[in-house]
Every structure is written in C-alpha cells, then in structure tokens.
Amino acid sequence: MAKETKQTWQFKQSPEEVWEYLTKPELMEQWLMKTNFKPVKGYKFQFTFVAKPGSPYAGIVDCEVLEVKPFTRLSYSWNGSTNDGSRTFNSTVVWTLIPKEKGTELQLQHDGFISLDDFTNHNSGWIKCVEKMTDLLNSSSHASSNS
C-alpha cells in the first residue's frame, strides 16, 4: 500500500524557468490552481479551486511555506477539508529541482497524510501487514465461497 505520491518529471527548461512556474502565482494559476502564494518561509497562503459537482472537497487548500531554496527545493504544507467538515487532512508537498545537462528533473513528493505517516512510523511492518491481510481476505473469501 502506497502512503505517498511521488513523481519525477523531466523538463527541457532550466531550473530557473521551472522554478518560476512553481513560485509565481500568475504562472501557478495556469497549471495548478489560483493562489496567493509567496516564496517566503512561514507565509500562509491558499489554493482555491472550483470543486466538481458532487466532489466532497471544499475548494480551499490551506498552506504554509515550509522551505524555500531558490531553484532547488520548495515545500509547503497542504491542508484540505471537505464541505461537511467530516474529513480533513494535513499533508506536505515537496518540490525538488535537479539541474540536468538538458534541462531539469522535477521531483514531487506529496506525503505526510498525518495518520498514515504515523501509522508507518509506528510500525514499519505495516505494509507487510496489509499485504498479509489482503492474502487473508482473499483466502477467506475463497473459503466462504466453497462452503
């Protein structure tokens, strides 16, 4: 079971150019969401979006800038919630830019969905546990279908 989102993308542009798109609200809006972001550590900002009809999400993500290392690393907290307030989640987004001969490697890590992280830290065997559970479930459903 995955506990985070991790992606790596290659761009032909330089880290400086990619960085602009990660940190300038007018550029961020074009591919991500409307935001009042500022690349200042400790700065609190929001992403806003129009939630799809039927989506439980409230259309606002509350964030705080955690780390700014120009052209290299950017991270912010990412706290979302649902309309009815039944579900909230705290997580962290980390962007890492690595200069490459022909551009930039951009890494994204979105994790720390608090309790999940806590879960895995708490017991490193958790993933194995879930795998085992899946096996168990599969075998028990076989057993019951035979009976």
Binding site: T5, W31, F89, H122
Partner: protein, 108 residues
C-alpha cells in the same frame, strides 16, 4: 455509548485501533480476546471495535456467545483511494505544466 462514524484517517489515528488492526491481521479474534491485550476498560474496547466496524475496517460475526472480528478490505480501500486520488491529481497538473513550458519554448 455513542459510536461515532469516523473517516478512515481518523480511525487509524488512534494507537489502540491500529494495534487492534495489527492483531486482526494475524488472525480473527473475539472481542474478549482482543480486550485481554489492552489496559483499557472493556466498554472502551467495544467502542473502538464499533468505530472500526462503522468505518468498514472489520466485520463482526456472532458465533455462540462470542463476537468474532475479521478484517475487511473496505476501510483500507478508502486510504488507498485517497493516495491514488492525489497521484492522478498531480499527474494531471504536471502534464499541464509540461505543455505550458513547451509552448513557451516554442514561441521563443
């Protein structure tokens, strides 16, 4: 005692409930045998069990006088769906970024 319905993340945020899931991942257990492993009151154990049940992490079967708890996939699926949702979300956004950057380069 009121048993709330919590979402999957709230359910596993509690250490006792995590431990119960761990124990149940090894074998099915009765509520009484689960309770023996905890230094909390029996009603408190029952409450945790109810929370796990309500959120789809376990099913409960009455056999004779005993109530047997078995893990259920549903609750775990919600956790996985959530992570999958963000994976798709970011793939979609980063594709847009790629297009934007490429268009910009081509205009030069």
């Amino acid at each position: 005692m009121q048993a709330q319905t919590l979402d999957a993340f709230q359910v596993i945020a509690d250490p006792s409930r995590r431990q119960m899931l761990m124990m149940l991942s090894k074998d099915n257990m009765t509520i009484s045998s689960l309770a023996e492993n905890f230094n909390i009151s029996r009603p408190a154990v029952s409450k945790h069990v109810k929370v796990l049940y309500n959120a789809g992490f376990i099913s409960i079967k009455d056999i004779g006088r005993e109530r047997y708890c078995t893990l259920k996939q549903e609750g775990f699926n919600e956790l996985q769906d959530f992570i999958d949702y963000f994976d798709k979300f970011w793939t979609n956004k980063l594709k847009k970024l790629e297009t934007l950057l490429n268009n910009k380069t081509n205009k030069k």
